[in-house]
């Protein structure tokens, strides 16, 4: 009898040990997958936060730049900076004289070099006539070469021996610099990988989320409060409840089609704008907010309602002065998670046309704009080698925003928890 018991205890201990090890194993597996994912993205994306520049001397003669007096903005914009930028580069290689060789050499400069020179002159008209030293971006192939992403030999190499040799010479002589690329975070998209930035997409996503929040938060709370606190339990309200729960599971592309059919075609709002994107995302986020708000309302102790009623508060006062404020932390947590989902949504934005190439940063929700997930989609589809690191870097940016939003939700939750305890 006693031995039997021991046997059973040993079996039970073994089963518990087994269960624990399964748990630890699956945790390890999930952790490894996460580490692999994050390290892949970071290792291929971190380089996009840096750019390769070349230090050149620019003699800013008015004739050389073909600028007419007076130095108004229009006259300065009309100058010929292209030739000026190229000739500054040729000056480093006096041995290059033939036209084809010069053309090949000029490809080392990014089109951004000309633009930076122009912007410098516009911002410093007093410098005209002097000679300045500026760092301007090199083109994507040389940028990739410097970062070590472009193979020097084999079929995939894109530069000739001579081109690489000239670049290496510049590196040795100290003309080439490796700088933090602020333009990537603030600038708009570009056809040229070395100039493409994610600022436009960040602004577009921000405007869309703002519209989404302003629409879905008040609407969601109003719907949740009505359903939870005031509506009678009828067949109609039960049907509405079931449908709200179903809406949360509808594929997002369907919301996009709805936006295309109704918001764009019937109401005629401007296509491809964060306004329309935000409206569609609000439709998607509403069920999440309603469900989280209702469950937080339900979790408020009935004692609080009774207490407030007994103090002589009207039912509306009870809800808006006692119950809803108490349910706010849970509702906000749900809202932030819903907005996080909305931030990552791609399909509905493709449907309403937020997929166009936009080369400026949108100032208002009414300007056509890209958004973060769509920008990732667009860059991932681009053929140029330089966009690979941009895609990964954009993923880093969107994941950072998501982590920050979830962190905010956690902070709100833990702060109110300690307050109640």
């Amino acid at each position: 009898m006693i031995r039997n018991n021991k046997e059973r205890l040993r079996k039970r201990a073994r089963a518990e040990w087994r269960f624990r090890s399964y748990g630890i194993l699956s945790l390890l597996f999930a952790g490894a997958a996460l580490v692999f994912l994050v390290s892949t993205i970071v290792s291929s994306g971190h380089a996009a936060f840096f750019k390769t520049t070349i230090e050149l001397e620019f003699p800013l003669g008015a004739e050389r730049l073909n600028i007419e007096t007076p130095y108004t903005r229009e006259n300065l914009l009309a100058g010929n900076y292209y030739t000026a930028a190229k000739s500054s580069l040729y000056a480093l290689f006096p041995e290059v004289t033939s036209r084809p060789e010069k053309r090949a050499l000029s490809k080392m400069l990014s089109p951004g070099a000309e633009l930076e020179l122009r912007d410098y002159v516009i911002n410093h008209p007093a410098e005209i006539g002097k000679t300045v030293t500026l760092e301007v971006p090199v083109s994507s192939d040389y940028d990739q070469l410097y970062k070590g992403h472009l193979p020097r030999t084999g079929t995939h190499t894109r530069l000739t021996e001579q081109e690489m040799g000239r670049f290496d010479q510049l590196v040795e002589e100290g003309y080439i610099h490796y700088r933090f690329n602020l333009g990537f975070l603030t600038g708009p998209d570009s056809r040229y990988p070395e100039l493409a930035g994610i600022g436009g997409a960040i602004a577009g996503s921000f405007h869309a989320l703002l519209v989404c929040f302003l629409l879905s938060f008040p609407l969601g709370i109003a719907a949740a409060v009505y359903l939870e606190e005031f509506s009678k339990d009828t067949r109609l309200t039960r049907m509405i409840e079931a449908n709200i729960n179903n809406l949360a599971a509808v594929p997002s592309v369907i919301f996009g089609l709805l936006g295309l059919a109704v918001i764009l075609n019937v109401f005629g709002l401007p296509r491809g704008t964060p306004l329309v994107g935000g409206i569609v995302l609000a439709l998607m986020t509403l069920p999440t907010i309603i469900i989280s708000c209702r469950s937080s309302l339900r979790a408020i102790s009935p004692g609080i309602r009774q207490g407030a009623l007994a103090m002589g508060a009207s039912p509306v006062q009870v809800v808006f002065q006692q119950v809803l404020p108490a349910a706010m932390p849970g509702t906000l947590t749900g809202t932030i998670i819903g907005l996080g989902q909305a931030l990552g949504e791609t399909a509905p934005l493709l449907m309403i046309g937020m997929v166009a190439f936009i080369a400026n940063v949108p100032a208002t929700p009414l300007d056509s704009s890209a958004s973060l997930p769509v920008q990732i989609y667009l860059w991932a589809e681009s053929a140029e080698r330089g966009f690979v690191e941009k895609t990964a870097a954009a993923i880093i940016v969107i994941m950072t925003f998501l982590i920050l939003m979830n962190l905010l939700a956690v902070i709100i939750r833990s702060r109110t928890q300690t307050k109640v305890e």
Binding site: S301, G303, I304, Q306, G307, A308, L309, A310, M311, G312, A313, S314, P315, Q317, Q321, Q322, P325, A326, K419, V420, E421
Partner: protein, 283 residues
């Protein structure tokens, strides 16, 4: 509101009403006019009758205890007195309840104002999840009793003083009320109820969630409060009813069996059911 009142009330004199009339004649310490009067109150939850022809007078500046086994309807009756049953789905009340001669179920009665005159304290302490100050200030705010911030602060302090809680919480007025102990929370709820200066205070088993020390404090408080308010307390503890009340009503299966001075109920009950309950034969 999904709630119907049937008027006029039926005029049949019931046994319960007779008992009550006798009680008035038998034992009263402080003779005063009945502040709150219930006549032939019937309560139905759907098809189930929860109270049957309950008639009772609640005298002012006295504590009236309602005792009886679980489910006998004493809490239901208490909730009729400040119309808290209004919000219960399918609840129907007939009969007549008057406060100083005014029918509290009349169509022109404002429930908000009524609940300002008849306060309530619940079984489980239910402070609002706000600061101690905000808990007390809530009632005066919604009833418009304090015009200035200084009036409000004064009202909060006096209410806490009356509830004997001020010394314990004066340094943490703006900290969450949920951080107080159970007994403190319950006294906070009492302070909250008296902050709007009600005429009647209803207490639904106010000590059942408290330990004996906290219970003692709440009972002492009730003794002090009875100088100014009429108090109705529902309790499961016969000792508590005997300790604090001047009059006691015994409920059984939705009937108010007997109501009399507390002394008579505990020493000389008329009805055999009361006697059985008090001596612990059932309940």
């Amino acid at each position: 509101m999904n709630f119907n009142t049937v008027y006029p009330m039926n005029e049949v004199t019931t046994a319960a009403a007779l008992v009550d009339v006798n009680a008035v004649e038998v034992g009263l310490r402080a003779v005063s006019s009945p502040g709150l009067t219930a006549e032939n109150v019937n309560v139905y939850y759907g098809d189930i009758q929860a109270l049957q022809d309950v008639s009772i007078n609640i005298y002012s500046k006295q504590i009236t205890a309602l005792i009886g086994p679980s489910g006998c309807g004493k809490s239901t009756f208490l909730r009729c007195l400040n119309r808290m049953n209004d919000v219960v789905d399918g609840c129907r009340i007939t009969g007549n309840i008057t406060l100083n001669g005014e029918d509290i179920y009349a169509s022109d009665v404002d429930v908000v104002e009524l609940r300002g005159r008849i306060g309530m304290v619940f079984q489980k302490p239910n402070p609002f999840p706000k600061s101690i100050f905000e808990n007390i200030a809530y009632g005066p705010k919604i009833h418009g009793l304090a015009e200035h911030r200084s009036d409000l602060e004064e009202c909060v302090v006096t209410s806490l003083q009356k509830a004997g809680l001020f010394e314990e919480v004066k340094d943490r007025m703006h900290q969450p009320a949920t951080g107080l102990s159970g007994g403190q929370q319950q006294r906070l709820c009492i302070a909250r109820a008296i902050a709007i200066n009600p005429e009647v205070l209803l207490m639904d088993e106010p000590c059942s969630a408290l330990d004996p020390i906290a219970t003692g404090k709440v009972e002492d408080l009730m003794w002090e409060l009875k100088e100014n308010y009429s108090i109705v307390i529902v309790t499961h503890s016969m000792q508590q009813a005997a300790r604090v009340s001047q009059r006691t009503g015994f409920f059984h299966l939705g009937d108010l069996v007997e109501v009399d001075s507390t002394e008579n109920i505990f020493q000389n009950p008329v009805d055999s059911r009361t006697r059985d309950y008090i001596t612990g034969r059932f309940g």
